[in-house]
Subunit: 186 residues, 2 copies
DNA sequence: GTCTATAGATAGATAGAC
DNA sequence: GTCTATCTATCTATAGAC
């Protein structure tokens, strides 16, 4: 039957959950495989059985959010007008941050994550498509700055300790009012 | 005549400059003393001669920006009305980011920096005073979220590769138009 | 003031026993 | 599938020669 320590979530699932928690607290570079193993009460070798490299754990954590990201980027690109596409992308971005606050906190603040993403063309192009959607056609300087501010701001709002007491639904509603006001329609 | 410390701009100054550059690229945790030493063409021991610990280098880099931060926080607190104080704080924040784009990039994205700051009460209280100025008296939820978004957004705008081609003056002017619109007067 | 040398700990990763 | 044991490389940091 079920073992006392390992809920049927399998090894990979437990490693990913532990990684999200530890990455969020110490960053990716600041989290060793030993820390993940200790957190799970197993040895490093047990972690290496599930993922043969640390980078694979980072990619698995990323994948948690990428499923949603791919979905709303594709949906946004199907919108008829650039304005509608940008709004769908912005809503998707807010939902993504809300739905994965821990993952965002874990990954948004480590250059190592950028390095890993840069080595995977599919991740690169996905981020490029999202940026393009938010920028719209022929963006002026103000638009570019607004996209930068909104993108970082939405992410920060999801992980800011100052807002830790705000529940998901309330935060989502507020961000969906604040965001569009900074990304006006053309 | 012969100074016991900074001979000809060398020493601490060179270490700090190298640290800012490398921290920005690899993060604090991702930057080893060996990397700093190699960047300067010296040995690790030479770096340890200038700073007895890695944490001291981080603090020295932080100090670059803290001088300006202390100045405008104090100035803002001297403003008669909370609205004016918040605007002075926001302008100061924008100027700080613009004036220290590299330092911000180096330090804003590493949990290790937070840990170091958390162990220094003077840094903690300074950040607390800045946040208080931006929030104003009795901030509602919307204000709290806006402060979070603006704070992160301004920082991101200063380091975003998407905006690397924007010169300081232009970026400052745009942010000073964008920011206040998100932090309305009471 | 800068170096060599090295300590002591820990990193990521692998091989093979059970 | 999880372990012990181990490898190599690198980490921060120190002691002391030049």
């Amino acid at each position: 039957m079920a073992r006392p320590q390992a809920p049927r979530g399998h090894g990979r699932r437990r490693v990913i959950d532990a990684a999200v928690e530890l990455f969020g607290e110490h960053g990716v570079t600041g989290t060793s495989l030993q820390m993940i193993a200790d957190h799970l009460g197993v040895t490093k070798a047990a972690v290496y059985y599930q993922f043969h490299a640390k980078e694979d754990i980072v990619l698995a954590v990323l994948e948690e959010a990428l499923v949603d990201l791919r979905a709303f980027v594709t949906a946004a690109e199907a919108e008829p007008s650039p304005d509608e596409a940008a709004m769908v992308a912005l809503r998707g971005l807010v939902d993504l941050m809300i739905g994965h606050r821990q993952v965002v906190a874990a990954l948004m603040r480590d250059p190592e994550v950028e390095r890993i993403m840069a080595t995977h063309d599919d991740l690169n192009s996905l981020v490029g498509r999202l940026t393009g959607l938010l920028l719209g056609p022929e963006p002026d300087l103000r638009r570019r700055i607004a996209v930068s501010v909104v993108g970082a701001g939405v992410a920060q709002a999801g992980i800011d300790p100052l807002l830790a007491d705000v529940d998901d639904e309330t935060l989502r509603a507020e961000l969906l009012e604040l965001g569009p006001s900074m990304l006006p329609r053309h």
